[in-house]
């Protein structure tokens, strides 16, 4: 079974704080993703990574950065948290399938609900 874990289920931070969200997967997946999910807006991709030390911007990267120092771990960093970053943050991973590149299933973690006051 694929397992994606996230460091916290709930987090409360103050405006201006630096926030780290950690994600770990145990299935040796190459691809890792960070999304945020908001009512009425659905899932939006923040950043993704295809390999260690590699990162790509998603649809809404502003205000966020990421780090991937090890294959199994992908961190999302809010450099200076703001109230509009209050959201549910979801991490996902997938395996590169060279024979079927359009069918790479993403597996999600349980989510971190972040409240910025």
């Amino acid at each position: 079974d694929v397992k994606v874990t996230q460091s916290s289920r709930y987090l409360v931070k103050r405006t201006g704080e630096k926030v780290f969200l950690e994600c770990v997967q145990d299935m040796d997946h190459e691809n890792m993703f960070w999304y945020r999910q908001d009512p009425g807006l659905g899932l939006r991709l923040i950043y993704f990574s295809y390999d260690v030390k590699m990162k790509e911007k998603g649809d809404i990267p502003e205000g966020y950065s990421v780090s991937r120092e090890k294959k199994e771990r992908f961190s999302l960093i809010l450099e200076s948290a703001s109230t509009n970053q209050t959201s549910m943050y979801l991490c996902a991973s997938s395996l590169i399938q060279l024979a079927a590149p359009n069918q790479e299933t993403q597996y999600f973690g349980p989510g971190t609900r972040l409240l910025v006051l």
Binding site: V4, F33, G40, G42, L43, L45, F48, E56, G58, M88, L90, A100, N102, Q103, E104, T105, Q106, Y107, F108, G109, P110, G111, R113
Partner: protein, 108 residues
């Protein structure tokens, strides 16, 4: 870019009342179509991957089907524990494109 639209936004059924959820997209072509189930406050749980038109997959009371322009998630004789939001997503360039989801409620 591909757009994914799910309908209805919300669906309320009685226990045992079968129905279907729809997921349509704007760009045709051979790409993965994924269905997920999401319970409140939790991450999406993978259900199915479909790829070729005509493909069908089943899991318990759920059956997913795929045509060139849309996918259906059929739910047969649902139970209250099937209540959840069902998300579909289609493989785009380097990322998944998600629909807004259908919130399904099954009343006992």
């Amino acid at each position: 870019e591909d757009q994914v639209t799910q309908s209805p936004e919300a669906l309320r059924l009685q226990e045992g009342e079968s129905s279907s959820l729809n997921c349509s997209y704007t760009v045709s072509g051979l790409r993965g179509l994924f269905w997920y189930r999401q319970d409140p406050g939790k991450g999406p749980e993978f259900l199915f991957t479909l790829y070729s038109a005509g493909e069908e997959k089943e899991k318990e009371r759920l059956k997913a089907t795929l045509t060139k322009k849309e996918s259906f998630l059929h739910i047969t004789a649902p139970k209250p524990e099937d209540s959840a939001t069902y998300l579909c997503a289609r493989q785009g360039a380097q990322k998944l494109v998600f629909g807004q989801g259908t919130r399904l409620t099954i009343n006992p």
